[in-house]
């Protein structure tokens, strides 16, 4: 009886699995049977078919129905790197029944066409070709275009193959970015000016920031408790300014950690950030005079997947129980998951990011939070190097210029409102002209 009690459900499960498997195979067979044979591949290849976009498996052109579009105009796009073309086409005389237009492109002399754009009926007939990274436009290449009118059933009615009037080519100077160039030059000039002053020994004041001053205290706490320090350098790549700021701070933190001989853990999501973080920590141990204390396993790569990374770091927090957690860099939706877990584990937490949407979560769950630019400034605070302090002073000077612009615009706005003077209006426009497009 006991054997039957066990056997019946086992047999039932086996039967159920077999039935489901059989049912799925039957479905697959039915689906195969219901798929019509591909007409393109079955039909004999004629000359005309060779012009069809092979990659897209476009059916053979049906009998005359819709009018195809007319002339295609292709121009080189100004102020680009030679990887874009401005394409426009004439609508057919009769657009009745046309659902959309499909634009195909190929390199002149080649066989296969690429579908580069679908323009719905009624939408503008001019577009920039080259945005789609799957079908890039290469500089200096001659292209051919062909456009089809498409009916609601998906049938295509092709127009003539037309050779592009221009080939794409890049420009050395972007005429639309002169203002950006001037702003960059002013910004860099100010930074170098204060950088030079700082190098000459001019003392510069830095106001205290609680989150930065707490870093030493947090590392000291971990040392006293004999527990590790966890440092997460954000989840972004090396191109992110927040990541670079974080890696600079990591060097400072690692130096302190090396001096105090406290264990350090640096999990990484990006492989390149991982290599830079490893170099940074190794260098910090060397500078602290403790290269022997450097543990190669302290900086490690977890995974590139965002939430898998979070699951891994959360597990580390709960198992290793670090006394201090640093979250400095770029974070997205994982910020609260990390900080809340760290809070549960009882660690002192210092966070910093320039992600506006994530800062509120860090503020509510961490002991100290570096807001936006405070993260960039942290490195200068920690290092107290003249170069970095000078750079910080230069940034402040840029902010002063911005405040001056806004205040002046506000003042002229109020004056214009009160007196309606041509002079005030001219002054207001003059002030806005370097900024407003």
């Amino acid at each position: 009886m006991r054997n039957c009690w066990i056997g019946v459900p086992v047999l039932g499960i086996v039967f159920l699995l077999t039935s489901l498997s059989w049912a799925q195979q039957s479905d697959a067979v039915d689906r195969d049977m219901s798929v019509p044979p591909d007409e393109v591949t079955e039909k004999p290849v004629a000359d005309d078919v060779a012009l069809q976009p092979v990659a897209e498996r476009i059916p053979v052109e049906p009998s005359r129905g819709l009018a195809p579009p007319g002339a295609i105009m292709v121009k080189n796009k100004e102020n680009d790197a030679g990887d874009q073309l401005v394409v426009s086409f004439e609508l057919p005389a009769d657009t009745t029944g046309i659902f959309a237009y499909r634009i195909y492109r190929r390199v002149s002399g080649e066989k296969d066409w690429d579908l580069v754009k679908v323009v719905a009926a009624g939408e503008p007939t001019e577009f920039i070709d080259g945005y789609d990274p799957e079908f890039p436009v290469m500089p200096g290449t001659l292209y051919e275009y062909r456009i089809a009118s498409v009916d609601p059933e998906g049938n295509e009615y092709f127009g003539e193959i037309q050779v592009a009037q221009e080939t794409p080519h890049g420009e050395w100077y972007h005429t639309g970015k002169t203002k950006v160039l001037i702003a960059c030059a002013i910004f860099m000039g100010l930074i170098f000016f204060y950088f030079n002053r700082a190098q000459r020994g001019v003392k510069m004041y830095l106001r205290p920031i609680a989150g930065i001053e707490a870093i030493d205290e947090a590392i000291g706490r971990a040392t006293e408790m004999g527990k590790p320090v966890l440092y997460v350098p954000g989840l972004s790549d090396i191109a992110d300014v927040a990541t670079i700021a974080s890696l600079t701070i990591l060097g400072r933190v690692a130096k302190k950690v090396a001096e105090y001989q406290t264990p350090l853990m640096v999990p990484n999501r990006d492989p390149i950030v991982y290599t830079v973080a490893e170099e940074s920590v190794k260098q910090a141990y060397l500078e602290a005079g403790r290269p022997d204390a450097y543990d190669p396993d302290s900086v490690f790569f977890l995974t590139t997947s965002q939430f898998a990374f979070v699951a891994g770091v959360n597990g580390i927090m709960m198992r290793e129980k670090p006394a201090t957690n640093f979250y400095l860099g770029m974070f997205w939706a994982e910020s609260l998951l990390l900080a809340e877990t760290g809070s549960l584990s009882g660690a002192i937490q210092i966070a910093g990011t320039d992600a506006v949407t994530q800062l509120p979560f860090f503020i509510t769950t961490c002991d100290y939070t570096l807001i936006g630019e405070e993260l960039y400034a942290a490195s200068a605070y920690l290092g107290q190097e003249p170069k970095q302090i000078g750079a910080l002073k230069g940034q402040d000077a840029c902010k002063a210029i911005i405040i001056t612009f806004i205040t002046a615009a506000l003042a002229f706005g109020v004056l214009d409102l009160l007196f309606k003077s041509d002079l005030v209006e001219w002054l207001s426009n003059f002030l806005a002209s370097p900024i407003v497009e």
Partner: protein
């Protein structure tokens, strides 16, 4: 069949991850290690099929794109990290990448984060036909921007009528902004939770339709 297995696996691992809310446990640890391992393996496969193969191997194999060999070799230098004697070679691609990234990002940030913001801040406060609430909103936005900028001055003590008062207003403005962002983002997270609960109750348990 595979759908059923997928749903059961999805439900099991959802509950395994949620078990962390109680405490760290072996079931969570299983799910954690699986998701980290699988995502890493999947990432490698995706990188090969979406990046390496179509953008390097195929173009080079087809001939005519030999220039791609140079970035390919630069990328290959990363592997030298495994050989301590020549691991210094991996610094070249890192330096190139960081330098290029900063060079590209600098003008873009200047335009998007400075000039565009400044342009938006110096719009006229009043035009014919504007209602009073719109004018008031513009004034608050402008003064709030100024105050927040004052807060981010690092080389001046936050004392006195300009920097002291301005930075106090600035931090209030920033916190008000964060409060609004917090509420908005939490709503998004709640919708994610609803999606997961729907999966459990609908796809898995068939309790709701």
């Amino acid at each position: 069949m595979y759908d059923v297995i997928g749903i059961w696996a999805g439900a099991f691992f959802t509950l395994a991850i949620y078990s962390f809310l109680y405490k760290e446990n072996p079931i969570y640890r299983l799910a954690e290690h699986l998701v980290v391992g699988i995502s890493l393996g999947y990432g490698i496969a995706v990188t090969y099929s979406n990046v390496l193969k179509p953008r390097l191997i195929d173009p080079v194999n087809s001939g005519g794109h030999w220039i791609l060999v140079i970035p390919g070799l630069m990328g290959f230098l990363y592997i030298t990290r495994f050989f301590p004697r020549i691991s210094w070679l991996s610094r070249y691609p890192i330096a190139l990448l960081m330098g290029t990234s900063m060079g590209v990002a600098f003008p873009l940030t200047m335009k998007a984060a400075v000039l565009r913001q400044l342009e938006s801040a110096i719009i006229p406060l009043y035009r014919e036909g504007m209602s009073w609430d719109v004018v008031l909103g513009s004034v608050i936005m402008l003064l709030g921007t100024l105050a927040a900028l004052i807060y981010f001055f690092f080389s001046k003590p936050h004392k006195g009528p300009f920097f002291g008062f301005g930075s106090r207003i600035g931090i209030w403005v920033i916190m008000l902004g964060f409060g609004a962002t917090f509420g908005f983002t939490v709503m998004g997270r709640i919708s994610l939770l609803i999606g997961r609960v729907q999966f459990l109750l609908s796809d898995w348990l068939h309790l709701i339709k």
